[in-house]
């Protein structure tokens, strides 16, 4: 086992990793930018090294500085956390070249899944369904043929495009005939390239992801699926497990798919397969070869410590248990609490004048905040994760509501009031939401208040 782990991250996730290390008797090295000198992960770590000025490029993304910090402190492994360098295959490789252990998957798997096209091809090759389509089409004739393969409704996209620009939805061939030339002209104008591709258009999909854990020695298990459909501008707001939008057969299907394919791949460490789900069909979006923000809800229902498992596996240990040994029990929900105005979502860095986390049964808070701490303006606005567990979804919802009532963060704006409103909406209570729901319905309503 490692003697000393360098945590190449900041905020709540750095604290999360520190905690797992301490509980394994491993010493921790915190690295930090100048503005994070008083951060919780720095205060609690056994050692800390300032690695650069506030901009992440000069500190948390500064590979030479991080490796030098590992070198001068004598760390024997590096945990990248999430974001920053967590999915940087080059970093993982350089870490290995310096005779340090990268706590995560193999360089090859990080690289494979980091490339959107390669990942999609790999998924297909493994037998994971992807959103149909994606072939470049130049003419309306080719488009008609492709559309038949893909199936209506169809999304017309520019290969050179991005950010929704030039996207059109065609519900039948007549619409395709009408919209294709328009989209082509627009793509030519905006991107200087008129090449288009078609993709099945999903109307109101849910975001379903499966947490898996592999040891790279043949064993792979899942810790259930997470439903992350409550999103605003592709940012997850709330996550829950199990998903209220799947029936038991669908649930088993996607879990088994993840385990079977990751076993075939020989995946090592924690990872997540993300899918869109609509009308009983799952479509692979991407794979995250790292810990995810919402990992605690899987820990709550499985009581398996994902960070501990990542560390154990990185140190060469075998999983040591099979799927049948894992009991997923109850329901868990996480609310991401951001330092943002609850209506406008404007970032709200500043000093926390009052901090009181909720406690009691089934309530977990992962946060690096403390009273007097100043949330810097330079980084991500996630400041706390409220995670609750209940023996069933209703108990979980009631507990979540109660915990949100108790949570006090003052001095900065946070999204706690947003969550307080969200958890009492009919759609959330019924689990009847998809990835567009918040923006389509709720965001607008709030705006009109």
């Amino acid at each position: 086992m490692f003697e000393k782990v360098l945590i190449a991250n900041r905020g709540e996730i750095a604290l999360r990793i520190h905690r797992a290390c301490r509980e394994m008797g491993i010493r921790t090295v915190a690295v930090h930018s100048t503005v994070d000198a008083n951060a919780m992960h720095v205060r609690l770590a056994d050692e800390s090294v300032c690695i650069g000025p506030p901009p992440a490029g000069d500190s948390y993304l500064n590979i030479p500085a991080i490796l030098s910090a590992a070198s001068i402190t004598g760390a024997d492994a590096i945990h990248p956390g999430l974001g920053f360098l967590a999915e940087n295959a080059d970093f993982a490789q350089i870490v290995a070249e310096h005779d340090l252990t990268f706590i995560g998957p193999s360089v090859e798997h990080i690289r494979l899944m980091g490339d959107k096209v390669a990942a999609k091809n790999a998924a297909k090759a493994l037998g994971i369904p992807v959103v149909p389509g994606g072939q470049a089409v130049q003419t309306i004739e080719a488009a008609r043929g492709e559309a038949k393969e893909v199936g209506y409704p169809i999304l017309i996209k520019a290969t050179a495009g991005g950010g929704g620009r030039g996207m059109r939805v065609a519900r039948d061939q007549a619409a395709l005939d009408e919209l294709f030339p328009v989209a082509q002209a627009e793509a030519q104008t905006f991107f200087g390239n008129g090449t288009l591709y078609l993709e099945r258009f999903l109307e109101r999909p849910r975001h379903i992801e499966v947490q898996i854990l592999g040891d790279g020695q043949g064993a792979v298990v899942h810790l259930g699926e997470r439903d992350c459909s409550m999103q605003r501008k592709h940012q997850k707001l709330v996550e829950e497990t199990p998903s209220p939008g799947l029936n038991d057969a669908e649930r088993e299907r996607v879990r088994d798919l993840a385990v079977k394919t990751m076993t075939k791949l020989g995946y090592k460490s924690a990872g997540t397969l993300e899918f869109l789900f609509e009308n009983g069909e799952f479509f692979f979006i991407e794979m995250n070869t790292r810990l995810q923000v919402e990992h605690p809800i899987s820990e709550m229902i499985s009581r398996i410590d994902l960070v501990r498992e990542q560390i154990r596996i990185a140190a060469g240990a075998a999983l040591g248990y099979r799927q049948a040994d894992i009991r997923l029990s109850g329901h868990s929900i996480e609310c991401r609490i951001n330092a943002e105005h609850p209506d406008t979502f404007a970032p709200s860095p500043g000093t926390v004048t009052r901090y009181h986390a909720p406690g009691g049964m089934g309530v977990r808070v992962d946060s690096a905040l403390y009273q007097g701490y100043t949330v810097p303006a330079q980084y991500d606005s996630l400041v706390a994760k409220l995670i609750v567990h209940g023996t069933n979804r209703n108990e979980c919802l009631m507990r979540l509501r109660r915990a949100l009532e108790e949570f006090v963060i003052a001095g900065i704006e946070t999204t706690i009031p947003l969550h307080q409103k969200l958890v009492v909406t009919e759609e959330f209570i019924n689990g009847a939401y998809d990835i567009g729901w918040f923006e389509r319905t709720y965001d607008r309503k709030t705006g009109a208040d």
Binding site: T34, A37, V49, C50, A65, S68, I72
Partner: protein
């Protein structure tokens, strides 16, 4: 920006807390009241490290007051005071140095990075030992 008087360190308080650390076997004591905060910590049983911080409204991230002629580490690494093992140090306390004169090197990622004097002056202090690790922003040498 930071004047010595602004820090206003209460030496007796530090001593009291250090004694308490010793007595209780704790590794850290932190105490806050209104806008003042004091934290004392001990990393090894032998050498108590003492940090005192006052709330910094703005940028200054280091607890320490920074002298005017401080030359700070631009990177994390290991400091060496001589060009080669066994050779004389680049500078010693009392030396007059000219602008851009090499003061020491920091080894980072197997690369030796020379640190030069930002201006002419006399070497008032050398704050790092030969072969010791340094972090970003750490004061290496003070010129006057």
């Amino acid at each position: 920006m930071t004047k010595q008087s602004d820090l206003n360190v209460d030496g007796d308080l530090v001593r009291t807390l250090a004694a308490l650390l010793e007595e209780t076997g704790l590794s850290e004591i932190e105490y806050a009241q209104a806008d003042r905060r004091i934290r004392v910590a001990r990393n090894s049983p032998t050498a108590p490290a003492v940090t005192v911080s006052v709330p910094s409204a703005g940028a200054a991230p280091l607890a320490e007051a920074e002298p005017a002629g401080a030359v700070k580490a631009p990177m994390v690494g290991t400091a060496y005071l001589a060009p080669q093992p066994g050779t004389p140090h680049f500078v010693k306390v009392g030396d007059m140095v000219r602008e851009n004169q090499p003061l020491l090197v920091i080894e980072a990622m197997k690369v030796m990075n020379q640190i030069h004097a930002p201006r002419a002056g006399r070497v008032a202090e050398i704050r790092v030992g030969d072969g010791t690790p340094v972090e970003f922003g750490q004061i290496l040498i003070v010129l006057e």
